[in-house]
């Protein structure tokens, strides 16, 4: 039992942990975040363990499985400390060589280094890789340094420092003021001022009040909250405890998707540890403050990320939003004052308390302070999680950090803000990214999804994809949202099928109006964004589909034709062999180029993929 009953006892324990660690001792950290897990990090970790033992070095080298480092594109990632040499796409068979060469002799293995996609330069250290170099990882940075199942790792890096400071040297009101001063805004999508929310909840009449951590991240392609909870659950918990103390709450919930099993597990481990250490429960650090946290696993409904739907779900009712004429900070969970913040918001709290609001404020723009974690995915070279200062431009994120578009293709749009965000065109690439600017251009910050699209993406098809998601994830309560999303999808579908009508754009605008204006919650309120933003910036693509019956990007099957360019056809016959519809005529070794019979072509694209000479043209 390691229960610490005072700040002094905590500091003593922290010193003990630090004293037992030698910062010069070699340490191999292996990213075991979800991306690297999928790329096969566990066999790599196993291979390191075996190899260290075989070479009799298991005592002299530390091996640590850490949370997500963010550079998921290049996983499994391995970092050798203290030099911080980054090896990427490591395989189990590389483990022995890394130990004999790098650990023992200090030699760098070129083959495993990251290669700059443009200059071809091999980069040895994590800090020099452009992907990391331009980030500002104040919230996410520790993910790569700690084992998320070890509270000692978190403590060694100064964990629960902020809590100790808050409990012993700050009045609850002071904490609220500090958060207000920091300008922190909710990272879950709404961007509401966190400090003001805390203040309203604190001042709301009533005895019991709740704090909730919203970990029901559901945007397609977004996984920053997942990686924080998986990789550094204590930072989120520490934020919650500080928040609860400031607000005067003694009971908290983390509402986490059940589809995030590792997040649930690591959080559960963290909760057990904090309870054991006396950092949760009764009389935390001898301060007289009591606080407990329960995990509530979500059942998979996207709409449960909406605050009132989430509270209904925690109460055991179906996850349906309710009107918020009386705010949840006054009457939320069980009709008690309730403060709900997102995972990333909570994780910002310890940093603000430790560093002070003034310092925190130095990063960001006028209306948006601090950093934001984005999940950068789609047609970009370096996909992964990036933490950047607010105000950075989209161009910097996509080209400098993200390394540009895959295959050197032309950028077309970036979709931000999750399914109900909007698509931002090339002309706005120099837009500084913050809450207000993204809203101004018809998109939103959302929880931080960023999907990059290139010239081969059809914007009508993209809008259809998101609308399909929304029509299925609408709870179905409001006519306007349930029927509105369904009908927008129907109209988009007929446009992509070549059956669009001249008046369909106007109809989409009508449906967008009613869905936005007449629906109860933010899901309906923002559901039209994918449609409106694509009409706003890519109207010509809609018109091409409707009037010319053409899909300029060559995506919508009903509107494209495949043809063989006779000048480029080498008469190899590969297309004919691959065609499942027997739609290609011609003879190998003849003099006549192959030909596609349009009536038989099912536009599956198999020949296009198969042709090695770019002879198949899509129009």
């Amino acid at each position: 039992m390691k229960r610490v009953n005072s700040v002094e006892a905590l500091e003593k324990e922290r010193e003990k942990i630090r004293a037992a660690r030698d910062s010069n001792k070699p340490c191999i950290t292996i990213c075991t975040g979800t991306g690297c897990h999928a790329a096969g990090c566990y066999p790599v970790a196993e291979a390191f363990k075996k190899a260290l033992k075989a070479q009799g070095m298991d005592g002299s080298v530390d091996l640590r499985n850490t949370g997500c480092h963010g550079f998921c594109e290049r996983g499994p990632l391995v970092v050798i400390h203290p030099e911080k040499i980054l090896y990427q796409r490591v395989k189990p068979e590389d483990a022995e060589e890394i130990i004999t060469e790098t650990i023992k002799k200090g030699n760098i293995i070129e083959r495993l280094l990251y290669e700059h996609p443009v200059t071809g330069e091999k980069i040895a250290h994590e800090r020099d890789v452009p992907f990391y170099k331009l980030q500002k990882r104040i919230i996410f940075g520790n993910n790569g340094a700690i084992d998320p199942t070890s509270i000692e790792d978190y403590l060694a890096l100064g964990g629960y420092d902020a809590l100790a400071k808050a409990l012993t040297s700050m009045e609850p009101v002071q904490i609220v003021e500090e958060i207000k001063k920091s300008g922190l805004r909710g990272r879950g999508g709404g961007g509401f001022a966190t400090g003001r929310k805390w203040e309203s909840c604190r001042n709301a009449p009533g005895n019991n009040r709740y704090v909730i951590c919203n970990a029901d991240e559901g945007d397609p392609g977004a996984y920053m909250d997942r990686s924080l909870l998986e990789g550094n659950p204590h930072s989120v918990l520490e934020g919650m405890i500080i928040g609860a103390y400031a607000i005067g709450s003694h009971e908290g919930y983390v509402y986490v998707r059940n589809e995030y099993p590792l997040a649930v597990n690591n959080l559960r481990t963290a909760l057990d540890q904090t309870a054991e250490w006396g950092l949760l429960g009764k009389n935390i650090l001898g301060s007289g403050f009591d606080f407990t946290v329960k995990i509530n696993r979500g059942g998979g409904a996207f709409v449960c990320g909406e605050s009132t739907a989430m509270m209904a779900s925690i109460e055991g009712q179906s996850g349906e939003p309710r009107p918020k004429h009386i705010h949840t900070v006054e009457s939320g969970l069980h009709d008690k004052p309730t403060n709900l913040n997102n995972v990333e918001t909570w994780a910002n709290v310890p940093y603000i308390i430790n560093q002070g609001a003034d310092r925190y404020c130095r990063v960001g723009t006028d209306g948006s302070k601090g950093t934001k974690i984005f999940s950068l995915v789609g047609k970009v070279n370096n996909t992964g999680l990036v933490e950047v200062p607010m105000g950075i431009t989209l161009r910097e994120i996509i080209y400098d950090i993200g390394g540009g578009i895959i295959g050197g293709k032309r950028f077309k749009a970036v979709q931000t803000g999750g399914p109900s965000g909007g698509c931002i065109p090339e002309s706005l690439l120099d837009l500084p990214v913050d809450f207000d600017r993204l809203t101004e251009v018809g998109s939103m910050m959302g929880s931080g999804g960023m999907i990059v699209m290139d010239e081969s993406n059809c914007m009508v098809d993209v809008a259809k994809y998101f609308m399909n998601f929304l029509k299925e994830e609408s709870c179905g309560k409001c006519t306007s949202c349930r029927e509105g999303t369904r009908r927008m999808h129907e109209v988009l579908n007929r446009i992509t099928e070549g059956e669009g009508r001249e008046e369909d754009i106007e109809l989409l605008e009508d449906l967008a109006f009613v869905t936005t204006e007449a629906s109860l919650c933010a899901l309906g309120g923002t559901a039209a964004n994918p449609v409106l933003s694509t009409i706003r910036y890519f109207r010509d693509e809609y018109e091409a589909h409707i009037r010319d019956k053409k899909c300029p990007a060559g995506v919508c099957k009903a509107l494209i034709t495949y043809e063989i360019d006779p000048d480029q056809c080498t008469i190899c016959g590969l297309c004919q062999k691959t065609c499942p519809a027997d739609a290609i005529e011609g003879k190998v070794k003849s003099k006549k180029p192959f030909k596609i019979v349009p009536e038989r072509c099912i536009r599956c694209g198999m020949c296009y993929e198969a042709c090695k000479f770019d002879a198949i043209k899509v129009t």
Partner: protein, 244 residues
Amino acid sequence: MTKGDIIRFTIDGQEVEAEKGQTILPIALEAGFDIPHLCYNESVKPYGACRLCLVEVRKNGRTRMTTSCTYPVLEGIEVFTQTERVLRARRLIMELLLGRCPGDQVIQDMASDMGVKEVRFEKGDKDCILCGLCARVCDEVVGAHAIHFAQKGSERKMMPPYGNEPTTCIACGACVTVCPVDVIGLKEEGDERTIVRWKRTLKMKQCKVCGNYFAPWFQLETFREKAKLPKDFFDACPSCRESL
């Protein structure tokens, strides 16, 4: 009622009074304003599903569209029931409802009144508008909890638990009465009553005076137990009981 409990506000410029805790819609209807609505019924809590009763509310200089059935009255608010935005939204909702349930007479009539003549998308084949009144009256008034919403999004529907015969349904017919589009259906044949949509059939009790079958046994027993009535209370039907 103390003085502080009276709330004064305006609807389309006309001053009205309400009690604290009331919502806009019933006050407006009582004062003679014409606000279309489908999912509101004064016997149950407002739910705000159909969205037809939209109004614009101006509060502290900010105007927003909201459903009048769920919006609690506040001192000094200004409510507008006929603005261009409100009428446009209502017409579009009506078009959506007509598109979903083209066969419902009530929906056809309302749509026609609002100038919605045709729908610009594929006609649906549903009859239920998903207002939830049947389930809400069953929960809040009857207490039988025999029907509920199932699925989400465009798949949402009303049904008894797991789509089976609702074993807690007492066939009282309250859902049939409140359904604004009258698509549930109640049928009585001989000594049996059937709630058509939920496929629930129950035997009825015979009045010992007039000999008519007047209500399901299960319903009468449930009510008698709940209200702690004497054993013979329901031996006679309500009309005969009065004349006894």
